[in-house]
């Protein structure tokens, strides 16, 4: 445990000093503010840009399809933004997490000091998990309180929290994909391309109704549902499948790293 904590401490110092955590924090915070703001002022923004007659037509259409935006849209828009750009930023920040150490030669120095392959991978994942927990929960809190300021209505606090935990699991799945490709790839470009392609594959599969219900990527819609007070019958299965997928990805990373010559 001592080696694990020491190496995890190194990882934490690394994401702090290389500003990776700060960048992710800023990216998520930008969406935490823009989500509720767009939900509240979208119509006003469009009104400023559109002639009055066209705006009236649009308002009629909005009325037909469900009316004005509500505080629910505030959360939905936030999740829509962070699901794409937030995950993308997370994968970019961590795509070299193992590969950089192999290329720089620090991986071999750490192994020579008694860091096991499993410790090497799991300590990195643990720090990513804690960092992303802070980022996701903090940005969800900002969404929640900013929504209250703008709409004077919010979802129950517990729903917001469960939703953000579900989304955290979704982020961890993609972070573990980054760790996996960072272990497998020989170059940073290979790692980046593989991670991004995988992200889009899951995104496209997510558009196919039915199939997505049994993939880890379903945790994004589940997060939105939980936040808005709905719960799918498949939620427990989705959580278990996502945890299993993360476990398989990390296990494979450790196995591959053990076989690799440094």
């Amino acid at each position: 445990m001592g080696t694990f904590l020491t190496f995890a401490g190194k990882e934490f110092t690394e994401i702090m000093r290389t500003k990776r955590l700060l960048v992710l924090f800023i990216v998520f915070m930008i969406f935490a503010f823009t989500g509720p703001m767009l939900a509240r002022y979208l119509m006003e923004f469009i009104g400023l840009l559109m002639p009055a007659e066209e705006m009236a037509v649009m308002m009629d259409m909005m009325g037909e399809i469900g009316g004005e935006t509500t505080f629910h849209d505030s959360y939905a828009l936030y999740y829509e933004f962070v699901t794409q750009m937030g995950i993308f930023a997370t994968m970019l920040m961590f795509m070299g997490i193992v590969l950089d150490e192999k290329r720089r030669g620090t991986a071999s120095l750490m192994m020579m000091k008694g860091v096991k392959h499993s410790t090497f991978v799991l300590a990195k994942f643990a720090v990513v998990a804690i960092a992303m927990f802070v980022v996701v929960v903090a940005s969800s809190l900002v969404v929640h309180f900013y929504t209250y300021i703008l709409f004077e209505e919010v979802v129950p606090f517990a729903d917001m929290l469960f939703g953000s935990l579900a989304f955290w699991l979704f982020v961890l799945f993609f972070a573990s994909i980054s760790i996996f490709f960072s272990t497998v790839a020989k170059t940073i470009v290979m790692s980046a391309v593989s991670s991004i392609v995988t992200f889009f594959v899951f995104y496209i599969i997510g558009l196919i109704s039915g199939l997505n219900d049994y993939l880890p990527s379903v945790m994004y819609p589940r997060a939105v549902e939980l936040t808005l007070g709905h719960q799918s019958d498949l939620l427990i299965w989705n959580i278990l499948i996502t945890i299993a997928a993360i476990t398989v990805l990390l296990g494979s990373s450790i196995h591959i790293l053990k076989k690799k010559e440094l």
Binding site: G2, K10, T18, G105, L109, M110
Partner: protein, 307 residues
């Protein structure tokens, strides 16, 4: 009583896809030796060292460190290692990096700071506050040596620790290595003059095969042939001397220029050659400008072994 070996290999082999990098080597490094591991670029030095540190998987064969068989992928606690291009965490200072290494290497908590400071003093980096990303090559090599020593290893492998350094940096690093007496040091290089100054044991590898391994004295005794050089005042004296001396003994005589020759013999030592040369000059009653025995160097052995 047989000498204890710090490093031993038994048919250690490494084959890459199309090339045999290390070919069934059986090397032995005595405990406490400072061993120069010599070879041309691509001879197999780095691959061998990486196998001996458990970082590369041997295709076949085994190796032992301090008498214990070791394996690929298992941490070898008794070993320190400096890679050919040492990498550090650029956002850390040298002190922070060594403290991390000390914690991972399980140096007792109450000794970590003093141990790290001691090592920084030893390599001349004590008090340097710069982040390692701002280190020069020489500073990186010195920090690399310090991290290799953090766990008080029985054997230290240093891969090309001086090759990329300027003369001052080279001298500093060689001094540090020279001060490691008591610890077995294996360091690879192709700068032979430096090796000769501090090494007491030499291994020469060529095309993946161990060509020689012995003490420096042992190698010199076996390989070095005295090179006696004489310079005359004119061509005729030089030619007369060659004719006469070849009548007396079977010698290799090479003309270095029209009035200067080199005399070597497989069968005679320095003293015998000197006697023969001086009596021949006396017989002929010819004057000479200079007469001397060239000091043999490790370069000569290396060229002889790898030619």
């Amino acid at each position: 009583m047989s000498q204890k070996m710090a490093v031993e290999t038994f048919g250690l082999t490494k084959r890459f896809k199309t090339a045999l990098a290390v070919d069934s080597i059986n090397l032995q490094v005595p405990a406490g030796a400072i061993c120069g591991f010599l070879g041309k670029n691509g001879a197999g030095k780095t691959t061998t060292i990486k196998m001996l540190t458990g970082l590369k998987r041997p295709t076949s064969g085994e190796f032992a460190i301090m008498g214990k068989k070791e394996q690929f992928g298992k941490g070898i606690g008794t070993v320190g290692y400096l890679p050919d291009v040492p990498g550090f965490y650029g956002y850390m200072t040298g002190f922070e990096f060594l403290m991390l290494c000390a914690k991972l290497a399980k140096v007792p908590d109450n000794q970590q700071k003093s141990h790290v400071e001691g090592l920084l003093k030893q390599v001349g980096l004590f008090g340097v506050k710069t982040k390692t990303s701002g280190y020069s090559r020489g500073m990186r090599q010195r920090l690399g040596i310090a991290q290799a020593l953090i766990n008080n290893p029985s054997v230290v492998f240093l891969d090309e620790p001086i090759s990329a350094l300027d003369p001052m940096g080279r001298r500093d690093v060689m001094e540090i290595i020279g001060e490691l007496k008591g610890t077995t040091v294996v360091f690879s290089t192709h700068i032979l003059s430096d090796v000769e100054n501090i090494c007491d044991y030499i291994i020469i590898i060529e095309k993946g095969k161990i060509m020689e391994q012995d003490t420096l004295e042992g190698l010199k005794a076996r390989y070095l042939i005295s090179d006696t050089q004489i310079e005359f005042y004119n061509d005729k004296d030089c030619a007369d001397f060659i004719t006469r001396v070849q009548q007396k003994a079977d010698m290799d005589i090479a003309k270095l220029d029209p009035m200067r020759i080199s005399v070597k013999s497989q069968k005679m030592d320095d003293v015998e050659i000197s006697k023969l040369v001086s009596t021949t000059i006396a017989d002929l009653a010819i004057p000479f400008k200079s007469f001397g025995v060239q000091a043999p160097t490790l370069d000569d052995i290396f060229y002889e072994v790898t030619k």
